[in-house]
Subunit: 202 residues, 2 copies
Amino acid sequence: MDDPKRSTEELILEAAQAVFLEKGLAGARMQEIADRAGINKALLHYYFRSKDKLFEMIVSQAIGTILPRMLAVLDTDLDLFEKIRRLVNEYIAFVSRNSFMPLFIVNEVNRNPQFFFKSLVQQERPHLDTFRRQVDEAVAQGRIRPVSSAQLLMNLMSMVIFPFLGKPVFQVALGLSAEEFQLEMERRRTEVAEFIIRAIRV
Amino acid sequence: MDDPKRSTEELILEAAQAVFLEKGLAGARMQEIADRAGINKALLHYYFRSKDKLFEMIVSQAIGTILPRMLAVLDTDLDLFEKIRRLVNEYIAFVSRNSFMPLFIVNEVNRNPQFFFKSLVQQERPHLDTFRRQVDEAVAQGRIRPVSSAQLLMNLMSMVIFPFLGKPVFQVALGLSAEEFQLEMERRRTEVAEFIIRAIRV
DNA sequence: GTCTATATTCCGATAGAC
DNA sequence: GTCTATCGGAATATAGAC
């Protein structure tokens, strides 16, 4: 918290990320961010002009760490099935370690869609298109069943991310403790890919 | 808005639902609810004591309309594949008509998990268990591949709901207009079920 | 850069007339 | 039941000393 190695600015950003991810823009309190950073409110405004500005900083930071991670696997020249296995495995692992991220991103995406537009179109779209072309070719060559690459992509992302958004419901509905839930997520790291592959394999 | 057929209380509830679903508890403003209902702030407090009370009203109402809808299909004695087809078809149709519902529910579930506990355990859990048993039996009889009913349920719910949460991203990522997106969702009403069935069919 | 103290704005809630 | 006017608190933001 007051580790002298981290600068005040870093301390603020860490605290702000924690609070904003948990409470959202409207729910977050500058006082709580100050407390968690071990400083006082006035300093927040000294470093970042306003709450909104600080929030936008956190949003860019969150997107900036997630998008590149998405790209990494998408653009390798792996076999389609192997790529699906790695995508699922790494995405679930990442979300497991950043459990507040999905809800935060989903809210922000819906609150301010334009913000994502630039980042996505300029950075991720080409890589996504590569993946979609790979799917389309596999279909054309009869190597997988006829499946829309758009639908496949939605299915993949859905199964990777949604269980974390619905965690409280799934825990109750399936009667799982927190540890058991985490264990189910570990299983998903391999099982979701196999589920998908069985669905599209000829 | 000021349709004399609807009582003031109904007008408030409709307006409150619209605003709370869009902005959430912290983001919603009593003033905006009053404006949309065509009345003034004081009346809100006359009918419902506080903002929190009004919000809880909306939450119960939302859950009350969604849970029974979930139950309807789960507890029929249809063939497993046919049940999956109907589940997917009806859930996607419902969410299409209530596009703010998923984000609202997901936020509320994570903000206040205990609230769902009662409703879910008492009402939905038994029906869910029926479905899970049906899956387990199909596995035992070798009619479908060995698959965990918990994982299957998560996959199903994920593919049904998540595309609506990620709509802004998917639209940009896949280059879809609002109409094209809606069309993709229509396709999903049948395709998601077939996707699942191919994945579990022996 | 960091603090205390204070100004300012916003918003939920209430008082009281009609 | 419905309104106008206002209170009171909370939260963002700023002033100014150190």
